[in-house]
Amino acid sequence: MKLRSKFFLGDGLIILISLVFIIFAFKTYWHFETGSVVQVNFQGKTYGNFSLFQDKKISLVGKEGESMIEIKNGQARFKSAPCKNQYCVQQGWIGFTGQILICIPNEISIEILGKTKAYDSLNY
């Protein structure tokens, strides 16, 4: 018997299948990717998509008054809101894909976008 150190087709297949599996597993199970873009929705329309890798303040004047959105260090938040309850401000910073902050009185929502979306819509 002679052992040959030849690279068999089967070896290649195993490597390929493993790679495919790794990519598949990564795509399926890796949900907490940090987003790179924040989408700002204002009065039913997309106001704009902004990179999270910048320091920026966006002021939107809606029915209730001025809402201030702040982008910093790869995250976004409502810095100030004109409403009484201040839910959106209290929720603080968001930066992971799929996270969303909503200001109903002033009709603004900000959502972190990534390459893959973990779901189509959110039940709350």
Binding site: I94, G98, I104, S109, Y119, D120, S121, L122
Partner: protein
């Protein structure tokens, strides 16, 4: 060998497909004092836009007809009741809704009670923006003792009369779900095969998202992201009652908008109750209504009430504790492994 090649080509294509952008039409609107999110898949934009518009018109009509504190057919009815007068010429739709809500109130052992508008109003939740208040024990006791129930309504033809003038109907736990059923009808009559409608968190799926089912995230009641996700199949609906959407905090205590009809106080301790409803004519309505009795009922009564109301799939989140039915556990996937580590997970049958 040829088979292997074929296998890889197919695999390659499936990856390519998952990267290409599908024809998804999405729009967000503000109706019912909340966000309405409509997704339509696989239709040309014009048609999708037209159907979305038709659905929104229906929602606006319902908003104007069923609103609990802005002038509507419902507030007119409530006014007649409070004056001990008969309300004539009620629309057949309103009568149908009240009859159906009454059946659900009975079936839920009156835990779902849309007649307690006076209580909800007292707690200050009949405003778009409410102020924290200090409840007066005696006042609450008096309001509970008035014992309003839809059972006290007498309906003959298009006339509604109440034997209790303290019935004040609030369809806050019904209207959004009913609107989902209406939207589903409109979407079907326009021959749209794939759509996902979300009214303030209550979601109904029609068809699917391309070759995959519609996928829905369930909000973490104490976070800004989803805690879990699940596939919402054709005709299914999902709804959640939570203490994190409409609430105020006074002296460190959280008061949410879900009031226990027997005690008169907001339910405390439960973060959220989610129900998943199988396809039926009124799956949307049930997804809105049935989370309430589960949220409100005592822990030990949950199983019985779920059985009585035929809620097979539910998920309840409390402090460090998550309980769900086996069938729900099979369907959902937690998004963060720590969720299972940090919570005691209880599977019920």
């Amino acid at each position: 060998m040829r088979f292997i090649k074929f296998f890889f080509i197919v695999l390659g294509f499936s990856f390519l497909q998952s990267c290409s952008s599908p024809s998804l039409y999405q729009s967000k609107h503000y109706v019912f004092g909340t966000i309405v999110d409509i997704s339509i898949y696989g239709e040309d934009e014009k048609k999708a836009e037209k159907v979305t518009k038709a659905v929104l018109e229906e929602f606006t009509r319902l908003h104007n007809s069923l609103h609990a504190w802005e002038k509507s057919d419902l507030t007119n009815l409530n006014e007649s009741i409070s004056k001990n007068k008969s309300y004539r010429n009620a629309s057949s739709e309103l009568i149908e809704i009240i009859k159906n809500a009454r059946e659900l109130e009975r079936a839920s052992n009156h835990l779902f009670n849309p007649a307690i508008g006076e209580l909800i109003d007292y707690w200050g939740f009949h405003q778009d923006e409410f102020t924290p208040m200090h409840p007066n024990k005696l006042k609450i006791k008096a309001l509970v003792e008035r014992g309003p129930s839809l059972d006290q309504l007498h309906i003959s033809g298009s006339t509604i009369k109440s034997t209790n003038s303290h019935v004040k109907i609030d369809l806050g736990g019904y209207a959004k779900g009913y609107a989902l059923d209406q939207a589903s009808k409109i979407i079907h009559t326009h021959h749209i095969k794939n759509a996902l409608i979300n009214i303030g968190g209550n979601i109904m799926a029609i068809g699917q998202h391309g070759n995959k089912p519609w996928r829905v995230g369930i909000q973490d009641p104490r976070g800004a992201q989803a805690i879990a996700k699940l596939d919402l199949l054709d005709g299914w609906a999902i709804g959640t009652s939570g203490d994190y959407q409409r609430y105020f905090i006074n002296d460190g205590k959280r008061y949410c908008h879900l009031i226990h009809p027997f005690t008169g106080y907001p339910v405390q301790g439960v973060y959220s109750a989610t129900v998943l409803i199988e396809p039926s004519q009124n799956a949307g309505t049930l997804s809105d209504v049935l989370s309430k009795p589960l949220f409100i009922s005592k822990k030990e009564d949950r199983k019985d009430i779920a059985k009585k109301l035929r809620i097979y799939h539910y998920l309840i989140i409390e402090d460090k504790h998550i309980s769900m039915t086996k069938t729900m556990a099979d369907k959902i996937q937690f998004l963060n492994p720590n969720t299972q580590k940090n919570n005691q997970i209880e599977i019920t049958l």
